[in-house]
């Protein structure tokens, strides 16, 4: 635990140093990046130790805040979330040095590094806090730091809007969480997690709903996701990797923690999580398919994966309430394993998208193309991450989902079996949609011919960026092949969160299939090697000829005739138009010799436009009616305060 504290201090110190050195961008970069990497290495040690031994470590320091205590607990559940946090932030920092070089002298890099390390530090606090006040402190600090980073390119209107939306969502979520913690700790002397008691009657359900909404606003599942597709793409590449890979998971972490406080559970809690997760993973996949910007595709894919995790938690809850321990254990283990796997491949994907943005100056899919030739080192890494995101074996995206499938076919009695079928079906649909979305994104951006001059002149990413991406790609492959080895940390984390019995059941149920999956993965790799060897043998001594792509005899094909992102997904997006509601203008041909025509489609933010915007407008109208309270005169505000204080005093008397 002391090492975690040390890494926290390193983060804060390097953050301060980066801020102090902000006049000298190169040294500020060094201060921030070295600090982040050192903190990661320091922090990974205790996290790994706790995961392997399963023994929680605690630390309490004196602190004079009402209801608060400066007490940290590093139990296996916290460690399980800390591990991807440290892996990803360390690698993101290395990546960031190259990424930010282009901004030297144009942007306050010292501030960016200070905010980045504060973001990491606040997440460490969130994962290890053993007191609600401390937890909320970390939570709000995290929101503030991420807000600053989303604002990095504040001259763009889109970024400002995204940051504001993020702030609003974070603020609303924090209010809900405060209420939930108040309910949980209302009869205790302090808000230490250990002293929380389950409120009687409907209180437990109220806490659950408050937490589902409050943590959901951070986790970003549908319909609480509106900030995700705005803020994730607005942040710089390496920050987006951390936000999508780890920060959104703080919501999942909080939800798991609170579920631990709230036993016994109600069955409908499980169903609520399951249905929200199922909707989130299916709709997230569908919306990802309709986006025109690479980074927005990735953001919606994050929503999809958060949905998968939430759905697994719901399935586990339903199964546990119905006494199907083995099934619930597998579902919880699958959820946790997917938390780790998603952090790895989504981090890699966002870094790849950042490399595209840095290299070509845009991440608009239909302006790209042919990047594979110009960025030959990024291409295999992005394709590998895409395959992992589609849960294709032998990569790591598969193992977590596989455990969830195993749970879904757990063969339990009626309610749990129904939950299993819904889960499996949503996973299958989401998988098919993800495959379409990622072949579309990777294919349009990296393959074929460049569609614009910017894509044609794209530059390969810097060596540090490539290093970080390669490290993550290696981890994706290893985590996919080492499923059985990951079962131990997953098991200790499940034990810490849900008790020993489910952990043992998960280990027992998942061990053999995961060993087989690993073996099958190795077999697949060796088969591929065999097939490649056969190909080399067949081609021995032959000189393949080079020619143009088959153009059906057309004399003057251009790059614009390629299938683009919009055309690739058009059959599917047209089919799901009632849900997607994309806005399009199609040319209508009225003459025999039609002149120039134009065509446009735009993916709408459906929930934002058709639900949140009207609701916000309604709220604003309501607020205007009370605008007479706001005068702008200081004296009257002081009067308000005095009156409030008097009323409180009277109430207390």
């Amino acid at each position: 635990m002391l090492l975690v504290l040390l890494s926290l201090l390193v983060l804060l110190a390097s953050s301060a140093l980066a801020f102090v050195l902000r006049k000298d961008p190169a040294r500020a970069q060094d201060a921030g990046a070295y600090g982040a990497v050192a903190a990661s290495l320091t922090g990974l040690l205790p996290a790994g130790r706790v995961l392997l031994t399963g023994m929680p470590e605690t630390l309490t320091l004196p602190w004079a805040v009402p209801l608060g205590s400066l007490s940290f607990t590093l139990d296996p559940l916290a460690a399980f979330f800390l591990a991807p946090l440290f892996i990803l932030t360390g690698l993101a920092a290395v990546y960031g040095v190259d990424y930010l070089k282009a901004y030297e002298g144009k942007k306050p890099l010292g501030l960016a590094w200070a905010a980045f390390n504060i973001l990491t530090a606040s997440m460490v606090v969130v994962f290890t806090a053993a007191n609600a006040v401390l937890f909320m402190l970390g939570w709000e600090l995290m929101a503030a730091a991420a807000f600053l980073l989303v604002l990095f390119e504040h001259e763009r209107e889109q970024s400002r809007r995204a940051a504001y939306l993020y702030l609003a969502a974070g603020g609303a979520g924090a209010l809900l969480l405060l209420a939930a913690f108040g309910l949980l700790g209302r009869s205790a002397a302090s808000l230490d997690f250990a002293l929380f008691s389950v409120p009687a009657g409907g209180g437990a359900s109220a806490v659950f709903l408050l937490c589902l909404a409050g943590f959901g606003l951070k986790a970003g599942f549908i319909p609480l996701h509106v900030w995700v597709p705005e803020a994730d793409p607005a942040a710089p590449g390496y920050v987006a990797a951390v936000m999508s890979g780890v920060m959104m998971k703080t919501g999942i972490y909080g939800l798991i923690r609170v579920l631990g406080f709230l036993s016994p559970w109600q069955e409908w809690w499980g169903w609520a999580m399951l249905l929200a997760g199922a909707a989130s993973c299916v709709l997230g996949g569908l919306f990802a398919l309709a986006q025109h910007d690479l980074r927005r595709v990735l953001a919606y894919s994050s929503i999809e994966n958060i949905g998968i995790i939430l759905m697994a938690l719901g399935l586990g809850t339903v199964a546990a309430v119905n006494g199907a321990t083995a099934m619930s254990a597998l579902a919880f283990a699958g959820a946790l394993l997917h938390v780790l796997n998603h952090a790895l491949f989504k981090g890699l994907l966002f870094m790849g998208a950042g490399a595209v943005l840095r290299g070509a100056g845009t991440s608009e899919l239909d302006a790209l193309g042919g990047l594979g030739k110009r960025m030959p080192r990024t291409l295999p890494l992005f394709l590998l991450a895409s395959a992992a995101a589609c849960a294709l074996p032998p990569l790591n995206g598969f193992t977590g989902e596989f455990l969830i499938y195993l749970a879904a076919f757990g063969g339990a009695a009626a309610p749990a079996a129904l939950a299993g079928i819904v889960t499996a079906l949503a996973l299958a649909v989401a998988g098919a949609l993800a495959a379409a979305a990622f072949t579309r994104a990777a294919g349009t951006a990296f393959l074929g011919e460049p569609r614009t001059g910017r894509a044609a002149g794209a530059q390969e990413a810097g060596p540090l960026m490539i290093f970080s991406m390669r490290a993550l790609a290696l981890l994706c492959l290893l985590a996919g092949l080492a499923g059985p080895l990951l079962l131990l940390p997953v098991g200790t984390a499940v034990a810490a969160a849900f008790g020993l019995a489910p952990a043992l059941a998960a280990m027992e149920g998942a061990a053999a299939p995961l060993v087989y999956v690993s073996a099958a993965g190795l077999l697949l790799i060796s088969l591929a090697a065999l097939v490649f060897a056969g190909r080399a043998l067949a081609l021995k001594g032959k000189q393949p000829a080079a020619a143009g792509t088959w153009d059906c005899g057309y004399a003057a094909p251009t790059a614009r005739m390629q299938y683009g992102a919009a055309s690739f997904s058009q059959p599917l997006t047209d089919f799901f138009q009632p849900i997607l509601r994309k806005i399009g203008q199609y040319p209508v041909i009225t003459e025999y010799f039609p002149g120039k025509a134009s065509f446009s489609t735009e993916a709408q933010a459906v929930f934002y436009n058709s639900f949140y915007m009207p609701a916000a407008a309604r709220l604003r109208d309501l607020a205007y009616r009370f605008s007479w309270i706001q005068h702008g005169r200081l004296q009257i505000y002081i009067l308000y305060i005095v009156v409030t204080l008097l009323l409180l005093l009277l109430w207390k008397l």
């Binding site: 294709l392 649909v429 379409a436 579309r440 087989y516 067949a538 020619a547 792509t549 690739f568």
Partner: protein
């Protein structure tokens, strides 16, 4: 001996798979009143293609060359999971059918990326349609296997087809019939047969699978064609295992029976292609949704049983 059997089964599948398209073509030729190509035509084609020197488009990268190879490896790995004559396959474990579906997904992922690598409008079109149909067919296929798992109470393909006997058909005929129908539609769609796609079409604009591989040549094309034959074998053996649930216990007899039924499945595909016209592209999703509905109905019947 028990270790050798799964390997012999695998070898038989690998060797006999290219026979199935030959059977289909002969049946179609019979219906059309033609003599048709030789039964072993695909073997000749493969041998010839492997000897040829490929031509590569200047637009393509290594993705174009790796796609067919990885796709073939994925399909061969899927064959390792698929049971043969109701006997456990070489690789049988709880949840192996999930693995099988994702291996098919890997093969499709590679094919689509290789197609997009050419920068051709036709191949992009084929890739787009392939992905569109996959979105509709995969959930139905998956639900079908889930229903089968529920009927048999098993979580591995080997287990499912091991317990599926004539008695299962006596007690759960509607469920199994619906599932067989659903799998048959999945076979037609996934293997680009009529009415979802036409393997013999000659216009790029109307192709799906054939459009995706327009630019492949030489050994790469051989890999693609062989992979397609393996995929047909995979789906064929799924249906054969469904409709032939009699286990004499004698391995040789079971295997011979299974191979006969496989030929029957290929003939059934040939008949279907001969008597049906190809559906309009926009109607294909509805056919796949029908397959999904069959699977869902089977599952509901099973849960109500």
């Amino acid at each position: 001996m028990e270790i050798v059997k799964p390997l012999v089964q695998l070898l038989a599948a690998l060797l006999l798979a290219p026979l199935l398209p030959g059977v289909i073509n002969r049946v179609k030729a019979f219906f059309a009143g033609r003599r048709g190509q030789p039964l072993l035509q695909l073997y000749y084609d493969l041998a010839k293609l492997l000897r040829k020197t490929p031509v590569y488009s200047r637009t393509t990268t290594w993705v174009f060359k790796a796609g067919p190879a990885i796709g073939l490896a994925a399909l061969a790995a899927a064959l390792l999971v698929m049971p043969f004559a109701g006997r456990p396959s070489a690789l049988s474990f709880d949840g192996d059918f999930v693995y099988l579906i994702y291996l098919l997904g890997l093969a499709r992922f590679c094919a689509v990326l290789a197609a997009l690598d050419t920068g051709s409008a036709f191949e992009g079109m084929g890739a787009s349609r392939e992905m569109q149909f996959a979105v509709f067919s995969e959930p139905g296929f998956f639900l079908g296997l889930a229903a089968l798992a529920a009927v048999t109470g098993q979580r591995s393909l080997g287990g499912m087809f091991g317990v599926l006997t004539g008695d299962s058909w006596r007690v759960a005929a509607p469920v199994l019939a619906l599932l067989t129908a659903s799998f048959f539609i999945a076979l037609l769609a996934e293997n680009s047969r009529v009415p979802a796609d036409d393997p013999n079409t000659h216009l790029e604009l109307t192709m799906i699978h054939e459009a995706m591989i327009l630019d492949h040549s030489g050994p790469d094309l051989a890999y693609i064609l062989y992979g397609a034959a393996l995929k047909l074998w995979l789906f064929g053996s799924l249906i054969a295992s469904m409709v032939l649930p009699s286990h004499s216990g004698a391995w040789a007899r079971d295997a011979a029976m299974f191979l006969l039924v496989m030929l029957g499945v290929a003939a059934a595909v040939g008949v279907t292609e001969s008597v049906m016209a190809r559906l309009r592209l926009t109607k294909v999703p509805y056919m796949l949704i029908t397959a999904f509905a069959f699977s869902a109905l089977a599952l509901i019947f099973q849960m109500g049983r």
